[in-house]
Symmetry: C2
Subunit: 358 residues, 2 copies
């Protein structure tokens, strides 16, 4: 009955030409109580199917049963949210039976959520929930109407006298404005830390950081001129640098440094996660840079760079840390195990939220 229903509902969502290609519905991934995970994929014709995930160091083979369902069960993994994908006769694809797709412009992977025995900081818990609003703003800089996600905390009232601090939060290089919520779970992390009294209620603005074919530096202008203005026009925000933060991951971490450190009068908090800095904008801003460190150290309430020791950007990040320290800037670092992953990124973000606006 259940399978019949699945098949019927699959049938209902497409034209008949495409239905003919559609596999039967199967459950994948299945996360077991001991944190092992079973992945499944249906193909009667494939010769080799493997699964790769960011909890593995190499792809694992899947095996086919008599009904054409390929599967593999991996041993217990550390509770977290991981990207994974299948390779079917060398074709990489997202898990067709998993709703949760990594929001990205350049690849399609799925995400699997392995819950902790105790609820993890990014999990949906029984606390008051903020909301995420999908909005559009006009960028005079870029001559476009562009998308924007805005987290408002539980109890947010746009008309109350309460005004809020704002964190501007930027995704990685080929991510989208949805990656910080869909993969980073920024909203649940904020809900939980606010409920625990560990983070201040704040607005979190998640713009779309890719401005191609415009030069990357135009995003700095867009942020400083258009996005901040949109927020000040449409939300009860505190228009004071002490209540404004910028953070971002990877390419967004580089953008964070460019935006924040060239505008210390506008952002008192600058938090870069595994920043990618091999850009013309970074070179222009920070080669032969001669900041007034004393003044900047007063303006910046926190300047933090986070990175994992297995991150492939670990070396350039260390060099940048040394460079900034060499300019006598007060810089906190969070250096932890792990790679250039969203697992690490959520950790950096949870750390940031507990520092902001205090």
């Amino acid at each position: 009955m259940k399978n019949t229903l699945y098949l019927l509902s699959a049938l209902l969502c497409s034209t008949l030409t495409i239905v003919a290609q559609r596999p039967p519905s199967i459950s994948s991934p299945d996360v077991h109580p001991d944190h092992s995970i079973t992945f499944r994929y249906y193909s009667r014709t494939a010769k080799k199917v493997t699964m790769n995930g960011e909890f593995l160091t190499a792809p694992v083979a899947m095996t086919k049963d008599t009904s054409g369902i390929w599967s593999v069960t991996v041993p217990p993994v550390k509770p977290d949210i991981y990207p994974y994908s299948f390779s079917v006769d060398s074709v990489q694809l997202a898990d067709p039976n998993n709703t949760y797709v990594f929001a990205n412009e350049r690849f399609k992977r799925s995400i699997v959520d392995v819950p902790g025995d105790q609820p993890l900081i990014h999990s949906l818990q029984n606390v008051a929930h903020g909301k995420i609003s999908y909005r559009y703003y006009k960028s005079a800089t870029l001559g476009q109407t562009r998308p924007l996600l805005i987290y408002t905390p539980p109890g947010f009232n746009p008309n109350s006298k309460t005004k809020y601090p704002v964190l501007y939060l930027i995704h990685g290089g080929s991510d989208t404005e949805e990656t910080w919520t869909k993969v980073g779970r920024a909203n649940f992390i904020a809900d939980n830390l606010i409920a625990q009294g560990k983070a201040k209620p704040m607005l979190i603005v998640m713009p779309y950081g890719n401005v191609r074919p415009a030069p990357m530096s135009d995003f700095t202008k867009d942020m400083v001129n258009d996005i901040i203005q949109f927020m000040q026009t449409n939300y009860p925000v505190i228009a004071d640098s002490r209540y404004r933060a910028v953070a971002g991951f990877s390419v967004g971490g580089g953008q964070t440094l460019n935006i924040g450190l060239t505008n210390p009068d506008k952002f008192a908090y600058v938090c870069a996660y595994a920043p990618y800095t091999a850009t013309d904008e970074f070179k222009k801003n920070f080669t032969d840079w001669n900041p007034n460190a004393e003044q900047m150290n007063k303006q910046l309430a926190a300047f933090t760079i986070s990175v994992g020791t297995d991150d492939f950007l670990y070396e350039p990040v260390k060099q940048n840390i040394a460079m900034f320290k060499g300019k006598n800037l007060k810089l906190d670092t969070l250096i932890v195990p792990g790679g250039h992953t969203w697992m690490n990124c959520r950790l950096y973000f949870a750390n940031t939220l507990q520092q902001l606006f205090k």
Copy 2:
């Protein structure tokens, strides 16, 4: 330079193990000014790559160039938004280079937006935009915290004296709470029709209609008991059946009939799009049904069923239309060319919006 940047940004968003599998970034789909479309896919090893889309009657072959990029250009298609996918040596997958994925639980396809020479009703236009809020509500019926998307119209103010009518809008069988915005573009259609004065400002609530493993009829209870209550508690809504509508597509169309027609004291507008009705709940509700037609015709401001003549549910939908008319219910029908598609669904929805709350 551009390609270098693409490669770098692709590189930055994953671990190195996965990067090794990653193809070079290419542009796909490219929609040309004459409405022809070029699709591209990279593989040096594939033997056969085809593309299928809902603007085609059969898959078309793609051809490989010397750099391993497969492509096909299809002749001009009627401007609309279409789902499509690739088949690579018989493996069906979404376009890796296209950000826009069809929100669905059971397949992964991409969507391509072919703009009209004049802006189509579902396009992002230069009008005031409403917002979509991603929220969570507690369902006492289902014992779960469940997701919900809520469209609020331009100028919406939760604290003003203005109270709003509400449309409850349900997705298809294997879709998600995001399908009505991501594929249906319900928000842009509402923005544009409100801007043109053709639709009343309203709230649009898009719940997640799948309640498995609970019986499907539990969604009716969830809607009537939990979702309406959540809206009345959290939004300035008019708590009167004349200002409450329910609509849905496919399985959601069947849910619409079950919800609306068994609660005509709660919903004055019942709008089913290609409803799927081969369910226990529908059978229980409408076999040997003996409604008080006179009373229901007074309660229902509009009862509409829409379907395409090529829809594979056309025959059962026609039979249900005859069944409801045989009960002397006032029923409007919108019967148009086209199949069981979201292209048709957007058309039905735009028609509904212009009828509601007038």
